[in-house]
Symmetry: D2
Subunit: 429 residues, 4 copies
């Protein structure tokens, strides 16, 4: 299997840190042992955990005000796959890539080969009916799957079916639908009729879904629509999954909720009613900020994983959530942000595994709120970095992925091949 | 039929205003006529519209910091019914009263007679498992219908059944359940288990529901629980109604949502899926502020009624929403606030009736967002006060209810009979 | 003076509506007369009221996800001035245009002539250091006036001074500074140091401000920075104005605040301490949605004007607020949206003029909260459209601007000359 | 010096944990040593750190819906001081108590003696003009320091002066003013006039402030007022401190801000302009939830302390923040919650001390956002519990305060002496 970064660089960087890692790992192992936890069991779970990289995440993001490009940005899906390979090589936590059509449209065989070179696989396919492609007949300015115009809806349905077709060829097993449909003015759309049209359209797509695929629909409170959004919250998303079929599930993006909403509770509800499809991980302080996972509120991310681990251990029905990052990297090197974010997601998982669930259940039964919450806090504040680093090292990744990445001068090297992109924005305000 | 305020006072006050009212009514009628609207058809609809008064609303409210009592506060449910009679006499918009058990517990026959004196009827019954009554065996400190303790749940179920029993005797046809169950700390309760227990408990209550009754469950984002709430949003509320049965519906309180949430869209979704039970009308700027309906964002109230009128005119299935005020009057005379609030709700209804729905549908079809929203705005900014005042006058109410109420010196009179209550608060912070 | 739309079209459209307008105006005049208000005094105030059009507002806006262009979009600042002339011709409420540099950079003499053709003048100049221009030496990716890099700050200062220089030649009397500086990650910037640098930079710009100019700084909670923003709220903005000098004032954009914030109170505070510079009017439901003024919460806009009228009538010190629209028109014809928005701002002003301020002060003194708020509501719900339409008609504008605009086929005509622009977005996510 | 809990209980419980604590302390010391940090220097700082207990915090709190009392609640200020003594004995982190007048009014000499028994001192005095005391002449229903009524304002001023007088006798050095003044309806109060009255009243209080005292004013977005609040945010609070005098400072309660607001940035601004007085620590998810410090978003608490440590190390002018808890304990034993909250505040301080500030400054200079934020995260995720526990043990406190407290059966013992209080609420809704 190929690697984008020379194995010697990784080995040399790891050598600098291996001894201290072992010492920290041992100290943590001893402490966990006292708490009745086998550090190697946790290590094994972490090793088996993966999160998908969105192909669009390796490019520099932006806002409606501007985009400030980075050096050596990927020119096409094949460059993107190479960047994803770097992330996986160093973190060993991101074995899959999630494509976006039409941005990543290419010959499926070439796509498969490009991924196979690095041992990567393809996660959920993502359709795009929130912007107009150069050649399309009908504009999505006033909606796509919920458009008042039948031909526009048909076009959007067919685009989704095309995504399934491509996905089938490259080994994907899911389609994720996120649309921007909604309105900017009270009265602009009829809520009921537009949701009916949306449901009909999703059913048409679902009919084309292979038996071993799942359909993920994603809700979002607002943006790009600023008064109403067709799939605005988990309540609507749940109805969609329920009305569509057994293989239809809800996707939760952590940044798509109203202020103050208890997201971990939504996750619990979707688990309970068998409709949790998966996640778009990121973090946010205000709106759909698409910041790095765990960078703003790491405890919230832990609380989400607390629900996931609880479901995993209790054998919840239809529970098999897809994990994907979905972030916009405006001021960092996207490869670095994605590496650290994948590790943050792993960290949330690892700390959630440390929760003493028997004790917790007891405190819940006896209404001992203080000890219940301390049980979570004790797990959360355990520094599991030695476990995560050990998992990376064991799999051939980097103990310190960012330092190793910088030592490799990968970005400089690709910048030499990939021409600089002009600054953008300035017109969309 | 008796009245609390002397009919001569009303007549005298109306006399002062009747001529101008007629003149304004005529001018508006002419203007509406030009827009193709028959003012008398609107008048008839307004005359038929009513909103229930919550018995607890006629007392002065407060916050956890303090309660500043008003003059002449009702001492018991019979005083409350008299105050409600004043509201109905002057507004002719509030023919029903909604009781709260145990606060309003009394001999059902006496209750019926007390209401019948003034031609009032009883709306939905409200149970209370969010505070402990003096004599109860199990505390609701850690939950009621979702409590981890079976005996506590049983007690809460039985209390709700008792509310149904009382309601049956006094002619009520619905039970409203709002609970404060939830948690203040991550980990305090298991989300899934506590919701299961809640669902089981609601099913037990539903089994006792008479065939011609409806069950309303009410969601609320937070308060009194500050980390998680069992029935936290419309998504959960919808699941409850769906899992419970055909006569289970969702109640929407306008102040119970996350910041920025599009409430009119939630109303539309519940209508579309046959689960809108009714409303607790009020207004809010921050949390569950329980301010007077329409006092903060009157356009939002109009947009809610825009959905209701649309459903009424299009014959939506299972559509028969209950209208009730639910407010806390901390700095005004509750009777005055409730009169003005009932009128605000009527006003939202009347203006929503003015929407040119044929034109609106056309603009929606052709994506003419600007004209669609102007169609709503044109209706909203029409000053329908002459219609509302004319409806009151025709039915024997007051053209200007507040002025008439003040001219009657009702508050002074009852203050002489009802002893002053001491200031409260100061301990609950 | 030239007009973009044939005067005959306007005359013909007005003829259709003049009689009914007169009748509605008379009826309203009679009703207001009864309330002690002279309709002609209000009319005179409305006639004297104007709001500036932002040059960038006449182009179709977009989001980071996509931009869906409209027909006949302006190609340059001269096309934009022609579109602004249409808005002013029909509404007679928008006598000035606010330019944005570098987007509107052109020979100042040509700019003056272009505006003079239509009797337009220039309002505040707007600088841009939130995106990179093609030719600039230093990128604003990591900040502009607050950048850690001195050369970048110097460049940003000089750009602002250039804006002043252009403004001096075309008759502007104010500079508005809005920057996107901030951070996306905790720790990325040092809050204190970066604010110090910002203050130093603003002082350098202020030194170049002509004596008869004012400097407006604008705060915004978030976007494009998603963790912290240097000028994040009115508190920081007030400190800036205070630390900078007597001609430094705060600009309030209605969409730049945290959820639930009481904006009219901020307006009052800035008036009280002599630091209100003016407004960017628009409306929002979620974030900085830049929707049409008054389209989401018209009562809030009224409450802002209630403060402005109160200050105007009470002769508040240093009170001379600049009025400007700042909106993004993604789904409407920008000319139509800007016309209706200017009229909405006028409407808020006109209704605020109707408030019975003597009665209001009395109710405030006696803590009669109910009558105080009803005093505002009575003014708000008065339909002043006849006054606004009469003001337009008298000045040669259109009684119904949108209908008249559509009847003129202006958009079709310019679309024939202005080539279609390709759809955008799809890369910035 | 007396203790409320037998020293033997503490010793016995500590014995069970001392060996493991030493082992964890050593392992952490070694790890920190590798990072260039002397664990004993951090330990010394933690030992010197204290946070005040609010006297009202040791009673069970409630909401407007209900209060569910706990066992053995304190009957008066002397019981409260005993409970505070327990907290200090076990945590050694809470050497002071903050009193609330009139709730804690008693003979000053007895108060001093009661505190001296346990080596406790008195922190800031808190006045109460948000509720009516039994004997007062004028009600605060419509405001206190900002009331439209001069006699009411005078009464409120005199109450604050009385608080100063009591404080002088018991060794307090600060007065904290929080008022509930505001309005529930648009128009109810005149924003400008009511703020002028407030400023005048505060100046009158300030005139009576001893030279070595500080005045703290506290802002809050809403509650108990639900439309506008006189001291609504830090901007207004800053103006108050600025207009009042050199010894007037702003108090920051973490739960008193609008949704999504960046609180650590407000802290930085107040530090920068010399007006940070101190804190009311707690946590919140929705409104002013008054939950245990660090229980909802521990990273936010860390980020606040990151600013405080930065100011401490850089010698910011006038920087001497007062630390106080201000929480409502509705479902836990208040003593347990206060102990854990004091420790959480200590923890935030200790982890903030671990930040590599030289590296951070370098990353900020070079715009290395990723490494800057990782520098904070590395400190935050270090589990400093061994340092905190060691500080407690060294000072004679408990390694595990909650376990030790439970082992002492303190609550059971006082419950035997302190009669049960009846359940409350049920009237204030």
């Amino acid at each position: 299997m190929e690697t984008m970064i020379d194995g010697d660089v990784v080995a040399k960087e790891n050598e600098l840190r291996a001894k201290n890692l072992q010492s920290d790992f041992n100290a943590l192992g001893e402490q966990l042992g006292r708490r009745g936890i086998d550090i190697n069991a946790i290590l094994a779970k972490v090793e088996a955990f993966g999160v998908a990289i969105p192909s669009w995440g390796v490019g520099t993001g932006g806002t409606r005000f501007a985009r400030f490009p980075g050096e050596g940005e990927p020119r096409d899906v094949f460059d993107k796959i190479e960047d994803c390979a770097v992330i996986q090589q160093l973190t060993q936590a991101t074995p899959t890539v999630s494509l976006h059509i039409p941005w990543d449209k290419a010959d499926p065989q070439r796509l498969k080969q490009a991924a196979a070179r690095f041992g990567l696989r393809f996660d959920a396919m993502n359709s795009n009916t929130f912007s107009d492609a150069a050649d399309q007949s009908h504009s999505y300015k006033f909606g796509s799957l919920s458009s008042a115009d039948a031909a526009t809806r048909r076009q959007a349905i067919e685009h989704n079916i095309e995504c399934i077709e491509i996905g089938k060829e490259i080994g994907s097993k899911a389609l994720t639908i996120w649309i921007g449909d909604g309105s900017n003015f009270p009265g602009q759309v009829n809520f009921g009729k537009s949701f009916e049209r949306y449901l009909d359209a999703v059913r048409s797509i679902y009919e084309e879904l292979p038996d071993d695929w799942r359909l993920f629909t994603e809700h979002k409170m607002y943006e790009p629509a600023f008064y109403s959004t067709v799939v605005q919250d988990w309540g609507t998303n749940y109805i969609i999954a329920k009305e569509t079929g057994d293989r239809a599930f809800c996707l939760v993006d952590l940044g798509h909720h109203a202020p103050n909403v208890n997201i971990e509770m939504i996750v619990s509800r979707l688990i309970q009613f068998g409709k949790l499809g998966g996640f778009h991980f990121n973090d946010s302080k205000y709106g759909d900020d698409d910041l790095d996972a765990g960078s703003i509120d790491p405890y919230r991310l832990f609380l989400v994983f607390n629900e996931l681990v609880d479901a995993e251990l209790s054998g919840a029905k239809d529970f098999d959530p897809a994990h994907m990052l979905d972030q916009s990297h405006n001021v960092t090197d996207p490869i670095e942000s994605l590496m650290m974010s994948a590790i943050e997601v792993q960290r949330a998982y690892a700390t959630a595994l440390l929760v003493d669930r028997k004790a917790l259940a007891g405190y819940q039964e006896s209404n001992d709120a203080l000890m219940a919450t301390q049980t979570l806090k004790t797990a959360f504040r355990t520094d599991v970095e030695p476990i995560l680093a050990m998992a990376r090292q064991k799999a051939g990744g980097a103990i310190d992925p960012v330092a190793t990445y910088r030592a490799s001068f990968y970005r400089k090297k690709v910048a030499a091949e990939r021409p600089a992109v002009a600054s953008g924005g300035g017109g969309i305000v």
